[in-house]
Symmetry: C2
Subunit: 199 residues, 2 copies
């Protein structure tokens, strides 16, 4: 009873989505699961889209925590990212497909999820975005079964991130930060005082 009814709805929505896919995520189904009728949900939630936005925020938080718990090393970071996504494939899908309503989000969610990656990129925000996109792309294509059946996906991850790791990149392209790939979180020299997170 300490959890709000809204949070309860989101928890049920998450489990239904993950267990049976987005087609089963209906208002009537959620209501049944909670022992009430569909219209009653609207006392706690604005719309179905509102529920999906809540799931997105939950997913972002979950990914952020998983990645933060993995420590600063890049290979463990990417492994944690991939592990979370494959453990919650439908939630990951929903979270990345939806455009982000930043104002409706807890203000720290996006940044705290991005911070470890920026650190692993040696503070280079552009490299961090490249890494993020690569990780997302690998996960997304794997989840959508777009790689051919026998493809060695582990190896694609290794090849990608050995190429992207800061220590192996030529110095000329760096943004003037320390070249040793250490985990300093120095913000990139963006116009604004603090660096924009990769997303």
């Amino acid at each position: 009873m300490p959890v709000s009814r809204r949070e309860q709805i989101l928890a049920v929505a998450e489990s239904v989505l993950e267990a049976e896919g987005p087609a089963s995520l209906t208002m009537r189904r959620l209501a049944t699961e909670l022992g009430i009728r569909a219209p009653s949900l609207y006392k706690h939630v604005r719309s179905k889209d509102d529920i999906e936005a809540g799931l997105q925020e939950r997913a972002l938080r979950g990914i952020g925590e998983a990645v933060a718990a993995a420590g600063p090393e890049l290979s463990r970071l990417t492994a944690a990212y991939r592990a979370w996504a494959t453990a919650h494939p439908r939630l990951y899908e929903l979270a990345t497909r939806r455009p982000l309503h930043r104002e409706a989000l807890g203000p720290d969610v996006e940044e705290s999820a991005a911070a470890p990656l920026v650190a692993a990129a040696g503070g280079d925000e552009h490299l961090a975005r490249a890494m993020w996109a690569t990780a997302h792309g690998l996960v997304d294509l794997e989840l959508a079964r777009r790689f051919p059946p026998g493809a060695d996906i582990d190896r694609a991850w290794r090849v990608a991130f050995e190429a992207l790791a800061p220590r192996t990149r030529p110095a000329r392209e760096r943004t003037g930060l320390s070249r040793d790939g250490s985990a300093t979180v120095a913000p990139s020299p963006a116009p604004a005082g603090r660096g924009t997170p990769p997303g």
Copy 2:
């Protein structure tokens, strides 16, 4: 009149989807656009899902042609890929979200779309998949507006593909093919006779 009715439906579906988004892609809407009633569509098409599969194939073909027309140079390849995706964002989305029904596809579609990238990767299929995932990830996150508002996305592309380009990668990780990044389509030394395409 030389085009089949099915092809007509797909063309209308493509333009409606691109112009107004997936919510407007309804059977009744397509029928209205063609001057008939919704149930008549089922004389030419099995289901709405069948239409979406058709759109996916069209998209794959379109991407393949655009990329092939860009020539062998990696930077032009990636530019063509990104340009196609941003010119047909909803179609790109639909094409990559759907799992691929390979048996229902023209057998050459997937391979021919992949071939130029494998070539640009110096024949290294794993690197080709890494590149593909990176390009897809960059496009996908951009289309979903997941990058923060001021992000320099062009630069993320440059950073990513300068790191991934075969000529700048250390030789130890290569699969023993020519190291000069030339456009030889030599298959990678996979167990099967011809190399598996990246997807």
